[in-house]
């Protein structure tokens, strides 16, 4: 078998989190009853005209600046014509040959290796509605709430070579968009999704192979699995002497299988032409500079600051800054307890594991930043042991209760009173002469057993350092 090189380009669609739609005043919020967030304009009633929401331009420029794009001083909107029941005007207003942002790049990190992925362009466009198939009646219904929700499409250069790079690129974009607060990036709701263009070619071949396109992937896992699947499929076809057709793949994420749809869709001619109902978008340097100056601290800058300001290892800083939600959480909790390393450890440890199990983001967790901070303070003051703290945290995670309340309610305050602990140590030493003898005979492991017995007696509340100290004193006397 020959060695193959995989060529991947992503077209990422991000729904912008403006309050209103791109050409009318309807709400963009997700999850409303069907056809309640629409009006004559976004349903394309005869005679209506679009009016561009300026926030959309501002958000798209933010995305362009944060990905090192050139911002066009003159751009225009175009009509992309095709028929589909979820597209009420029978054209989508998009941008064709003069997009808002061109020629940028982002740096990604795969297993510690840095790579730069080129960005061809970012343009603004409107989303389509949704078709709902009623399996019972066999009817197809149209929900137009999503019609004309603003999108940006971020088109990458074909610089991506494998699934890990694609996922890292997507994660980087997600992080940037979150930092900019221009997209809520809820992939499961479809507000961040991507189309994968993929082709393979024997190593050394100059020309690209024929590519396939898979649309609307809305999880990192789906992107990863589709790429692995499609790469293997294309190589197999070529190895068996077949040819790759330029076609659309439908990816079944549950089954982990892609199906080629040899449809007419690929032959579709969208008949793009300039949208005559909208004037060109002409931007001044001043306007763009104002936006540039309003950009928030971006992840790579923040990461450097975490290392210098909080003395965190680079590894921690990288993880904490990958998501804006995490970074915001970290900073707020740190401000409240003044122990950055402890906050970092909590976030990167059990907390993340629990969030992943529940499939929620840190900002959706019941544990507030203040509550995590006060839990850490309780440990730092010696009020509770770190072992107890883990139990408490689990409860905080489930119920959202404050650490202090749980400690008080369950009587989990750490026993640091030497007098009280000494009594228990003595009792345990007297009850276990064999272990004491073993220790004296050089079996260090016996000490662990004795500590365990003491902790058992105190229900884990004894301060472990004091237990260790007193135990050794008593045995050695």
């Amino acid at each position: 078998m020959k060695d193959y090189e995989v060529i991947i380009g992503l077209e990422v669609h991000a729904e912008l989190s403006t309050k209103t739609k791109i050409y009318c005043n309807c709400s963009t919020s997700f999850g409303a009853d069907p056809n309640t967030h629409c009006c004559p304009i976004c349903t394309g009633m005869p005679g209506t005209l679009p009016v561009l929401n300026e926030k959309v331009v501002e958000y798209a420029i933010k995305a362009g600046l944060a990905t090192n794009c050139e911002i066009s001083r003159f751009s225009k909107q175009d009509r992309k014509n095709y028929f589909y029941p979820d597209l009420p005007k029978a054209y989508q207003i998009s941008q064709y040959d003069l997009p808002l942002c061109i020629g940028g790049h982002v740096d990604i990190n795969v297993d510690g290796n840095k790579k730069t992925i080129g960005i061809t362009r970012i343009h603004i466009e409107e989303d389509a509605g949704k078709l709902i198939h009623d399996a019972y009646t066999g009817d197809t219904l149209v929900d137009m709430n999503r019609c004309a929700v603003p999108l940006i499409e971020i088109v990458s250069e074909p610089d991506i070579r494998n699934a890990d790079e694609a996922v890292a690129y997507m994660q980087t974009l997600k992080s940037i968009l979150e930092y900019l607060e221009v997209c809520d990036c809820k992939m499961q709701e479809g507000s961040l999704r991507c189309d994968v263009n993929l082709s393979v070619r024997p190593v050394g071949q100059k020309e690209f192979g024929t590519r396939t396109e898979t649309k609307n992937l809305n999880s990192f896992r789906a992107i990863h699995n589709l790429i692995e699947f499609e790469t293997k499929r294309q190589i197999e076809v070529l190895e068996n002497g077949g040819v790759i057709h330029q076609e659309t793949i439908r990816w079944d994420d549950a089954k982990g299988v892609g199906y080629a749809m040899r449809s007419k869709e690929d032959a579709q001619d969208y008949r793009y032409f300039p949208e005559p109902d909208l004037a060109p978008i002409v931007l001044s340097d001043e306007y763009i500079n104002d936006i540039k100056n309003s950009l928030p601290e971006m992840p790579h800058i923040k990461k450097e600051r975490y290392v210098s300001e909080f003395n965190l290892p680079e590894y921690d800083a990288e993880i904490l800054t990958a998501s804006k939600h995490t970074a915001d959480y970290f900073e707020k909790a740190t401000a409240a307890c003044n122990n950055p390393k402890a906050v970092a450890n909590w976030i990167m440890g059990d907390f993340t594991k629990m969030l992943n199990e529940k499939e929620i983001e840190i900002n959706e967790s019941k544990v507030t930043e203040e509550n995590l901070a006060s839990l850490i303070c309780l440990i730092d003051k010696g009020t509770i042991s770190s072992k107890i703290a883990k139990q408490i945290f689990e409860e905080m995670f489930e119920t959202g209760e404050k650490a202090e309340d749980i400690v008080n309610k369950k009587g989990l305050v750490q026993i640091s009173d030497e007098g009280a602990i000494k009594e228990i140590v003595k009792k345990v030493v007297e009850a276990n002469p064999q272990s004491v003898a073993d220790y004296k005979a050089g079996k260090d492991r016996a000490i662990g057993f004795l500590v365990g017995q003491i902790m058992k007696e105190t229900k884990g509340k004894a301060n472990p350092q004091i237990v260790n100290k007193l135990l050794l004193e008593i045995i050695n006397n």
């Binding site: 005869p46 561009l52 028929f83 029978a90 001619d269």
Partner: protein
């Protein structure tokens, strides 16, 4: 004298001065409609009940001493491609035969705010595509000057309604001459304002970069009054221009002293009817006698306007009319087995021949591989035409040309050749291509007694000069005082 035969300006004054009640005015107009509409067929929908209800409200407010607006109580007709809340707006198409908008076009709102009363919605060529109103799916409107002939188009219903005294004014829309040409055929005043002066919000689009709403009236002064009401920036239409408000009525005078009228001799060629040419030559004498200096100008690119127009207008139309797919509103075919068939059958059955011809033309010129040769090139020529006019206006204040090369023709005269019909727009289309204001005023009659229109064209947003020239011409002629007999002639 019957109330219905008065001008817009006069009837508005009479109502305001309480010489007549609004109900008396409505009674007069509707009895006129009852009398002549069966012969003319200008209206698709009459809104009698709504009109009387509104008349009562307005009268009450007037009697309470309130200002009910400059058009207070005046009956006005609206072309049926302008959306009217809860009143059917059909575009004279089977596709929208039962379509009722849930909102008002901006111009309708402005007329309402000025106190106007809608009497009905007027007939037109289907989706405003045509020059005779014959492509209407609903009915055929006859020319009040000779019921055997067409009223022109596409706003033929509006022109005929005003011409036959069935409304004091009417709104039309003009994409390539659809106001001016029927105004010319029916001997009324028809104004197409500068692109961007009037909001298009609520005008069902034919060709978005060319469409413009404008008034039909009996006199130039009435046109100025209508323009005062409907002109102005609208935030719902970002192609409407944010220009300073102008009073178009004040300062109209009956001389053209110091004005230069441009005559594009290179554009008036052999295709023109000899009676129209005679009327045009007479018009040149008229403006001279009114004090204007006549200046020969060149419009060498104007002859490419028609070709340019049939690419740009059809391209935009093919996209604008995509939404009529039988899914959400409008005509849906009865039998279909899948989505494609639903689309194809609904559009095949719902649209008429002319509309389908233009959708196909437009689809073709935008197709990949043809875009550069047609659409892009047409836009380039469009720029040349715009520059051509700019240059011409360095030498003159207004341009005067005939509105149409011929007078009204008999029904079916151009059935065999759509291209012949397209040529009727040769003098009106360049004005849309360049986005300029143009007005047609009554300018004589041919040897069959059919009206001839004289067209004035001005610089963009210079409606003031345009109306001044038209007014002076009107005041120095008496064609506008002639009324149609509303009977069948030769």
């Amino acid at each position: 004298m019957d109330l219905y035969s008065l001008t817009l300006t006069d009837i508005a004054k009479k109502i305001k001065n309480k010489e007549v009640t609004i109900k008396e005015v409505l009674d007069s107009v509707y009895s006129r409609i009852d009398e002549v509409e069966p012969k003319v067929d200008a209206y698709i929908t009459l809104t009698r009940d709504m009109a009387y209800q509104r008349a009562e409200e307005l009268q009450q407010r007037l009697d309470n001493g309130e200002d009910i607006g400059v058009l207070g109580g005046v009956p006005i007709a609206i072309k049926d491609n302008i959306c009217t809340n809860s009143v059917k707006t059909t575009c004279a198409s089977r596709m929208l035969e039962n379509f009722t908008p849930i909102y008002n076009a901006t111009v309708v709102k402005r007329l309402e705010d000025a106190g106007a009363i809608m009497v009905g919605k007027t007939n037109m060529d289907e989706f405003a595509m045509g020059s005779s109103t014959e492509t209407s799916y609903i009915k055929k409107t006859k020319n009040p000057w000779n019921l055997a002939r067409v009223p022109g188009g596409s706003s033929g219903g509006s022109a005929a309604a005003v011409s036959a005294d069935m409304a004091y004014a009417a709104l039309g829309s003009d994409t390539g001459g659809s106001i001016r040409q029927p105004a010319s055929y029916c001997s009324v005043v028809g104004l197409k304002p500068t692109y961007g002066l009037i909001s298009r919000f609520g005008l069902i689009a034919f060709a978005s970069s060319l469409d413009q709403i404008g008034p039909f009236t009996k006199t130039v002064e009435d046109a100025a009054l209508m323009l005062n009401v409907i002109a102005g920036y609208d935030k719902m239409d970002t192609t409407s221009a944010n220009v300073e408000k102008v009073d178009y009525v004040s300062g109209l005078s009956n001389n053209l002293n110091g004005k230069v009228v441009g005559i594009p001799t290179d554009f008036i060629t052999d295709g023109i009817n000899k009676d129209v040419k005679l009327a045009y030559d007479k018009a040149i004498e008229t403006v001279k006698n009114a004090g204007a200096k006549v200046q020969e100008i060149k419009l060498e690119y104007a002859k490419y306007s028609l070709a340019t127009y049939y690419i740009i207008a059809t391209a935009e139309a093919s996209s604008n009319l995509g939404r009529y797919d039988g899914i959400r509103y409008g005509y849906r075919a009865k039998d279909f087995s899948d989505l494609d068939e639903l689309y194809v059958k609904s559009r095949t059955e719902g649209f008429g021949e002319e509309v389908k011809r233009r959708i196909m033309l437009g689809t073709y010129v935008l197709s990949s591989g043809y875009y550069d040769a047609y659409y892009k090139r047409a836009q380039q020529v469009r720029t040349l035409i715009v520059e051509n006019f700019k240059k011409a206006f360095e030498a003159c204040d207004v341009i005067m040309i005939p509105t149409a090369p011929n007078t009204s023709f008999k029904f079916g005269a151009h059935n065999a050749s759509p291209l012949e019909m397209y040529l009727e727009d040769i003098y009106t289309v360049p004005v849309n291509i360049a986005g300029l204001p143009g007005i047609s005023v009554p300018g004589g009659f041919d040897n069959n007694g059919m009206p001839i229109g004289i067209q004035f064209i001005a610089k963009a947003f210079d409606e003031k000069t345009l109306l001044q020239a038209a007014y002076a011409f009107e005041q120095n002629t008496d064609y506008h005082t002639e009324r149609p007999k509303i009977e069948e002639g030769k």
